[in-house]
Amino acid sequence: MPRKVCIVGGATTPFDYGPTGFESIEGGAAECIKETQKDIPDFSMRDLDLMIYSHFSVHFGHQLCSEWIIHDHLGLVGVPHYRVENGGNTGGSALYAASLAVMSGHHDAVGVVGWETMDSVSQSQGSEFIALASDIRYELLVGGIYPIYYAAMANKWMKDNNVSEEDVATIGAKNRNNAMDNPKAQWYRNEHKYITADDVMNSRLISYPIKKYDCCLMSRGVAFVLVCSEEYAKKINPDGYVTIDGMGLSSCTIRAGDRLNFPGWTERYGKGYPGMTEFGACRNAADQAYKMAGIKNPRKEIDFGEIHDAFSTSEAQIYKALYLADENNIAQFLRDESTHMHGEIPMNPGGGLMGYGHPVGATGLMSTIECFYQLSDMIPKKHLSRKTEVADAECGIVNSHAGTGTSISNFILRRC
């Protein structure tokens, strides 16, 4: 039997586009570790026996191997280190790598540091840089930014599933409003207002049916998560650790249009989940994670999630991929506000990418940290109130997502 993998702590810097006071990435990483040490005073840097660095783009970082700068700064010279990069799923993939390292028995305490410094360039240049992760020979020049590819997928998906613009607009409002309870969140730190679905509907067109407030934020930020064996977790945080009971990582095509007819689709994803508008990799990664965690009825057995809301439309598509709803009831699921704080399965109580922010390499780790806080009763300490606490949560899902659904990971976290 592989060893159990646990999370014992973690923290992020404030997320923002522009000065945060935590601008240097190595300084930000140090402060995230210091905050973690405040929460778990027995955690010593000397315990770390592997460091995994989670960073998406050198175009934003203007420094090759910037993880080496962070590693030296932390005084970890001699500890093994490597960087994981997997588009928007960089954070989830780094967590996957750290989990494998612990599971294998080869490492006991693995530090994962993620970051992105997207405010190094203008927002429009930043969008174009991200689009360099599309197939630039075919797609960069004919859309130029990811929201356009997502919008084309969402437009058909919404028609096929009877989901309206208003239905998804509620997600854009929900996540921003959740972020208003979270002082590190970019929405809280900048716009700082509660909004309604009407505000989302009235925001400027990005690419039909996606408007500005359906989109996530471009951010600077750093995050740290401490992944470890259960033995180590019991030693330094016996009452507050969380276990990773299930995990899955899957892939789909880089060009969404290729999804129309991949010959191995049914073999990989199972029958009846075809089409370019669905996140097959999310479904596949969920199948793996649910099987490993013994989850039969996700809607009943999972209490909440921190998921990759790059767009409000994609959050809705993810609900379906995670089996929270199907084509017959997804519209009603949204209209019932099932994923709001008062709903049956709150999603993104931490604010998500639309509220907290999306510094790519740090994002999946931010979602993990927020999920960890919920399951270790730390929300009252980390958020401004209990409004965004999922009371008595036992089980949460973390989802990290890349490309046009090109790489997706899901993790099932449970209270110890």
């Binding site: 429009s124 174009e128 930014i145 437009n155 058909k156 129309l260 010959p263 191995g264």
Partner: protein, 221 residues
């Protein structure tokens, strides 16, 4: 003592290309300056400093086995590839079949018809820096001929709110002198016999969203 002269011919996997046609489309003022620190700013309290790094680099995209597709664009042709084993055809092309049963079979080039069908569509009101002035842009994923996959490109020649799922398209190339072997050498247009459906609630909603985009683009320098 001395090095031994090797007379055996070096193994080459492909004939080295001799590039005889070379064109540049470099806009005025683009220079390859490489890496340069070109300025800084310091906050009033003296505590925070930002520095400006400029990076201007020319990349060579070597199309290699995919070259026929991009060269075809210069000639006003759409080339696809076809697997001789399973018979699947694709644009965008793949030089080896991705059906695992075909075990990376080398594919054959086939000329595709200049007709397509919309799979899905969107109307961009925002884009990357280099495309802002062309907004709003109708982008479709469309299936060319009997291709098994859809390709993304712009749809011209209609009011943006009139785009439809399943609509028939023709492929229209730029005039020969304006082509540069890139995907935007062509765009889609509705076929001549296509007529837009009557206006409806969704079309009115799209009009409402798109109108401010036209106004905003006018303000761009």
């Amino acid at each position: 003592m001395g090095g031994e002269t090797i007379t055996r011919k070096k193994k080459k996997f492909a004939k080295e290309p001799n590039f005889t046609e070379k064109k540049t489309y470099r806009p005025e003022g683009v220079k390859e300056t490489g890496l340069a620190f070109i300025g800084h700013e310091i906050s009033e309290d003296g505590n925070t400093m930002n520095q400006f790094l400029h990076y201007d680099q020319l990349y060579t995209i070597r199309h290699g086995w995919n070259s026929k597709f991009f060269k075809g664009l210069l000639e006003g042709k759409i080339w696809g590839t076809k697997c001789p084993k399973c018979g699947d055809t694709w644009v965008p092309v793949r030089t080896h079949c991705w059906n695992l049963d075909c075990n990376l079979e080398k594919t054959e080039w086939v000329e595709m018809p200049l007709t397509a069908k919309v799979h899905t569509w969107t109307i961009a009101g925002w884009s990357g820096r280099s495309s802002l002035k062309r907004l709003p842009i109708v982008l479709v994923y469309a299936v060319i001929g009997d291709s098994k996959v859809a390709i993304a490109n712009e749809l011209h020649g209609i009011d943006s709110w009139d785009a439809e799922f399943g609509m028939p398209l023709k492929i229209v190339f730029k005039p020969k002198g304006e082509r540069s072997g890139i995907i935007t050498d062509f765009h889609f247009e509705p076929t001549n016999d296509w007529k837009p459906s009557p206006t409806n609630e969704e079309k009115e909603r799209i009009k409402q969203l798109v109108e401010p985009v036209y106004e905003w683009v006018k303000t761009l320098k």
